[in-house]
Symmetry: C2
Subunit: 336 residues, 2 copies
DNA sequence: TTGTACGCGTTATCAC
DNA sequence: GTGATAACGCGTACAA
């Protein structure tokens, strides 16, 4: 009972004793085909439960109706949220999504891009890994004429399409909140000093302090390499200060998790002796006994959606348009 | 400077004034081609930076070297872990992975399968949604001759390939651990009674009690629909009992999160008045002040890997083999 | 050792 | 309205 070979247009044509081209046109509701013929064809197609061979169509049309998405990690809640929206946009456009996770490994990242190129995807959405310093894949994609939109973690280049967060707004709101709660000793646990994301946080932190009339103290800014050890070292530095900060903005939620744990273990009381706000990556704060005061939200869903929409504009555009940069302002969200 | 059209075999042939077939063979290291010719061809291919048009190859070979993976959610840590291993297996086989998340929506699930069929994937790995009761996609895949391996959450059918957890082993270990800590009032917060996963847990729970010589008390088993409200209702029932259980096995970590939160709020002390063990879905227990005593691990990575390996066996098999069922024993893992 | 011819399934372009 | 033909890029049986 199993169809050894899927039905083709030819098969339908043969059975109906008409030409394949007529069948093709009938199936595509071409106006020049008679109503009767069209009906007959469709009926026969139904019977044989014909399905167009997409691989043939991809081949002929030189399009695959597929986009590639390259991310550091699929399990990262930020990216999960982005992916869902990307899938939605793609579905609406009848596109399929191929995902690959680089796991912050530049080689793996490059290999994924190669695979995507091999599969002749029509476009690529990408967030680069933490350790990616060079962009060999740009050449690859350029040569293949595959449009790319970067989002979240983007290469430090000008002539590319990107969707990014404005980290400043959220930082200013965080500092305002701390200040309005009476804090003056406000610290920053930042990421690696070289990382653009760290630079931006630092700049915003300084601006926030200045606006609040709080003098900058060098010892209140510490860096972590984002490993647990690094995070613990960073908070240890702060706890060891003669004048311990009462408020801390941390690079992201994962840093916050580590440092808050260590704080507890040192017998310092959370949300009393010391208060935290972090950039959001969505751990399950709701279930924690002592969550941070607030989080700086970066709206991954919206970013993913926008990036996808941008990509489809590029795919549909006859000429390659000027690179676009879209910025999403980050905002403070207090914990309910 | 951009290659308007990617180089083809024909192009190489024309430039070298030889036939396309020779080029094709040379590129594929066909033994019957002279060394010189092979070299010349490869050099020219390099120059034009030729890349085989995979869409043409897919079309011709009637294979896409692509597998589809359908899951309820990509962000679920269980599935993330499985995906990574699936990707590894697929990469080794030079296969590409297309993923789709059903979000536990049966319609969406079906649509994803249709897309995968359209894309002519060579095989499918699938974990069905919580609400999927019928399996219309079986017909779809059957008709298209696409092999499927189910894992984790699998249809209640016999003649299918599946990789599943044996939930009993972990449950027995959990009860043993409770008993050896002196607990006798051991409760089970189970999922929806109809769910096969719930039935299995229940059976194991009863067996565990029996082995320990503890009489079964009906009121010690409560059910939740796995929503937060359901979870809270379930634990409330237990807390309201005249003789409150001192130990609880919960359906999974998400249930545990909700119920442990409520327990705290009711002023009952975790890991003192009441103790928890849950089936693992990996929330960040490490960072909690009062995590469960232990978790029942289901080894998602191994399951994903095995499922993928099984699928490739099916894909490579000339005949459709008898359906296989692989079971992974669950095991208790205490919290470090 | 190499070239010729054909087919994979579809559709666009002519012709009738 | 409909049919014949070519073409997309590749691989391969067959011929030379």
């Amino acid at each position: 009972m199993k169809e050894s070979k899927p039905a083709t247009i030819k098969e339908i044509a043969k059975r109906l004793k008409i030409s394949p081209s007529t069948v093709s046109r009938a199936l595509n509701d071409h106006p020049s085909i008679g109503l009767v013929t069209t009906m007959r064809v469709k009926k026969m197609a139904e019977e044989l439960n014909y399905e167009p061979n997409q691989t043939a169509i991809f081949f002929k049309q030189r399009k695959t109706f597929t986009i590639g998405v390259v991310l550091p990690s699929l399990s990262e809640p930020f990216f999960s949220a982005a992916i869902s929206e990307i899938e939605n946009v793609a579905n609406d456009k009848n596109y399929t999504v191929i995902m690959g996770q680089s796991l912050d490994d530049a080689d793996r990242e490059f290999r994924i891009l190669q695979t995507l190129k091999t599969h002749r995807v029509d476009g690529v959405l990408m967030s680069i890994g933490k350790n990616t310093r060079e962009y060999p894949f740009m050449e690859l994609l350029e040569a293949a004429g595959i449009p790319v939109v970067f989002f979240d973690c983007v290469p430090d280049l000008d002539d590319i399409n990107k969707v990014v967060s404005d980290l400043e707004t959220g930082m200013l709101e965080a500092i305002d909140m701390f200040v309005s709660c009476g804090h003056r000793a406000i610290s920053l646990i930042n990421g690696p000093p070289l990382l653009p994301a760290s630079v931006e946080r630092m700049r915003a932190y300084l601006k926030g302090l200045e606006r609040a009339g709080i003098p900058f103290k060098e010892e209140y800014v510490v860096n972590t390499d984002l490993t647990t050890e690094g995070n613990e070292a960073a908070i240890s530095q702060l706890l060891a200060l003669p004048q311990r900060p009462s408020a801390v903005v941390s690079f992201n939620d994962y840093v916050a998790l580590d440092v808050m744990k260590l704080v507890r273990e040192r017998g310092v009381t959370l949300n009393q002796d010391i208060h935290f706000i972090s950039y959001a990556n969505y751990p399950l704060w709701t279930y924690m006994e002592n969550p941070p005061m607030a989080s700086i939200e970066q709206f991954p869903g919206e970013q993913g959606k926008k990036a996808a929409e941008l990509l489809f504009e590029l795919i549909d555009a006859p000429e390659r348009p000027e690179p676009v940069k879209v910025t999403f302002k980050s905002h403070l969200v207090s914990k309910a």
